[in-house]
Symmetry: C2
Subunit: 416 residues, 2 copies
């Protein structure tokens, strides 16, 4: 065990030095299932896009030189030699002073080197009047003009959304390699907690953390494995931890780490043969009694039992760890500036986080109002807080009316 509490930054470094992106390996999945996954390979174009000289408009394929001099009041007249089929290579050839009907996306007819937009023409039986001259290659996208065969189109570690998946489809790719999703086992401990859905015995409360943290795992790009509630029994917890480690890539526990006589999770952890504590206590409030260990090559986090503290520490330390394992760039929190609606105190010598709810005042300034009950175990704090304000170690308090930066819990911008 360490004597000195680590600072938040030291704790972060201690955790992140254990993580190697891609260490979980890669898997090949169908393109239609690749949304929100992280690419584990560079994507090199295996074909030119477009694969042929292609019209970008509806109109007439022509030899550009035949249209020279065409103007609104002095059209050039060309003979229509046919229609370019779409979806197949054209057999039709455009000769001098001829034009071939063509639609957007069709290959340019042989002999033609430009397309006149239909808006600049007037059809007359087997002829077309062209009212606007076109330059060579006008309205034609040349073979490979968009993507050249052999070009690297998307790089490893790119997060895949609708736009990237569209580009992969364009290249004909329907299977691709992505990083495996970290499986994160989540369990709660405490003799006073009962699983939701069961009858509540006297003196007990329902478990919150295994649910809120499982969801937070999902929101961080991991796959939660809900293991439920365990009693503060050393043997039972050892078994539970072993099972959790066998079935996951990371373990997150909560409870059993207070300053009371029941610091059982750290005990159960140390009792595992290969466990190595990497942090035991952080100089933050709330969140001080946080422990993390490495067992084999797997991280085990032991978070405070207080639901708001557990979720805050998850946000500060576990979420970036999951994101790194998943190959995601640990995103910065979304922040908003606000005015402190009340004085916020810090804890002596500890970086302090104050949960705040945001609202607009009459002059449309954003107010950050500390959420009451943040210390008392109130669970409604969870639902009321939009984010938190960080007070540095060396600052005693932030006064009402001061400007503060609020780090938002949600990934989205806050809107009134």
């Amino acid at each position: 065990m360490f004597r000195r509490l680590l600072s938040l930054e030291e704790a972060r470094d201690a955790i992140q030095s254990q993580i190697k992106t891609g260490a979980l390996g890669v898997e090949e999945i169908p393109l239609l299932e690749a949304a929100d996954r992280v690419l584990a390979e560079d994507i090199v174009a295996m074909l030119d896009i477009p694969p042929f000289d292609r019209s970008t408009v509806d109109g007439y394929a022509v030899r550009a030189e035949d249209t020279f001099g065409a103007e609104d009041n002095r059209p050039v007249t060309l003979k229509i030699c046919g229609t370019v089929p779409i979806g197949e290579l054209p057999s039709i050839r455009v000769l001098k002073n001829e034009a071939a009907e063509i639609v957007t996306g069709a290959p340019i007819a042989k002999g033609a080197d430009a397309v006149v937009m239909v808006e600049h023409t007037e059809r007359k039986l087997d002829c077309v009047h062209v009212f606007s001259a076109v330059a060579k290659h006008a309205n034609v996208m040349k073979t490979g003009g968009d993507i050249r065969k052999g070009e690297t189109v998307l790089k490893r570690e790119r997060l895949l959304g609708s736009r990237e998946i569209g580009v992969l489809a364009a290249l004909g790719i329907n299977k691709l390699k992505v990083y495996r999703i970290p499986r994160v086992a989540v369990l709660s401990t405490g003799p006073e907690i009962t699983e939701p859905g069961k009858k509540l015995p006297p003196g007990k409360i329902y478990d919150i953390n295994a649910y809120s943290l499982s969801t937070a795992v999902l929101e961080s790009g991991g796959k939660p494995i809900y293991l439920g509630v365990f009693q503060d029994d050393l043997a039972e917890l050892q078994t539970a931890l072993k099972h959790a480690l066998d079935s996951s890539d990371m373990v997150v526990t909560s409870g059993g780490v207070s300053v009371g006589p029941k610091d059982i999770i750290p005990k159960a952890l140390i009792s595992l043969r290969t466990a190595r504590l990497i942090l035991s206590g952080i100089a933050i409030k709330p969140g001080k009694p946080t422990t993390a260990a490495v067992v084999g090559d797997k991280l085990v986090f032991s978070l405070p039992g207080h639901p708001t503290s557990a979720l805050l520490v998850f946000h500060l330390l576990v979420r970036p760890a999951i994101q790194m394992m998943a190959g995601r760039k640990p995103e910065e929190d979304t922040e908003t500036e606000a005015i402190a609606a009340a004085r916020m105190f810090s804890a002596k010598g500890r970086k302090t986080f104050v949960m705040v709810a945001l609202k607009l005042d009459e002059s449309h300034r954003i107010l950050a109002k500390p959420v009451s009950g943040g210390d008392s175990g109130a669970i409604t704090t969870l639902a009321k807080a939009d984010g938190f304000v960080e007070i540095p170690e060396n600052v005693q308090f932030i006064d009402a009316g001061e400007e503060v930066v609020v780090r938002l819990f949600g990934p989205k911008m806050w809107r009134p």
Copy 2:
């Protein structure tokens, strides 16, 4: 068919007037699967939280009056009468000048009305020295002090994240009613397109839209049903549309709506018996040849074939429609201010959207650079654009150096 093109706002109104939140019905799901779902019922607390007077710290349960006058240099000494068990109702009773050991979360012992924090005490065998007086109810959360039985805790239409799911768990709820997820059938049309993964015949290109739009459906809170690629054949399309309507709550097609001779989707649509066109063309660029119809009570969107146009119109019209059907508040786009890196032109009389990529210049200003190829069918535009700039109908161009507002494609903040 309408003669006049609708404005974007008129098109939005025409679509949104067809949608009734919750019309798809509700389903009951387990709490662990409720992340990112929308609550379809008000949640009323069926129990007090906490369900008993509860200690919020580790320490000693006392009668507050027994601690009066206690100070750092003049402690009060109390006799320890036992330990309050956690997880069951205490049988122990604290009498005058007695204290009972207690941990965070344990029910207060009978007779006691406050808890002294362990940090303010010193244990001596069967006595405890108390160095700080406590007021009545200090460090005790009263029954119902957090949530009162009968209170409405979360309202219908609340989007469920880790914090809300924690609150629901606290209430013992492990099943809940959420709005059904809209199923959106997605299909592409065009004789020139082939499904990715297949061999590419000469003159053809791979389908993009069914993939990018399926992913965009997912990103909007819908469930995509990928139907693939169909030829521009009226009978085949009628069958495909009927099948799509039977298996989904909304249909999104792309292609087959250009100004060329192949406007087949609108034809296939009108041929369906109960179809009613609600818009046919919008005064925007790109995206003009967009059609929408109502068949029975289902919306059918027919988007342009150009991948970037299709995704833009999806973003402007289809995404908010899916969000409304799912019970989500159609979120505003995330926006960022930027400096135009080049002149951007508008199309005459049409609201124009210019795709832009963002980057920082040397003075850390955000530059919005128009992505080349936006008009030409280039698919790389998709992957390069971070968002788009809207140029109003009555503005000819935005000059390089002017401030612009960029609406971001992703839901997240853009970061360099």
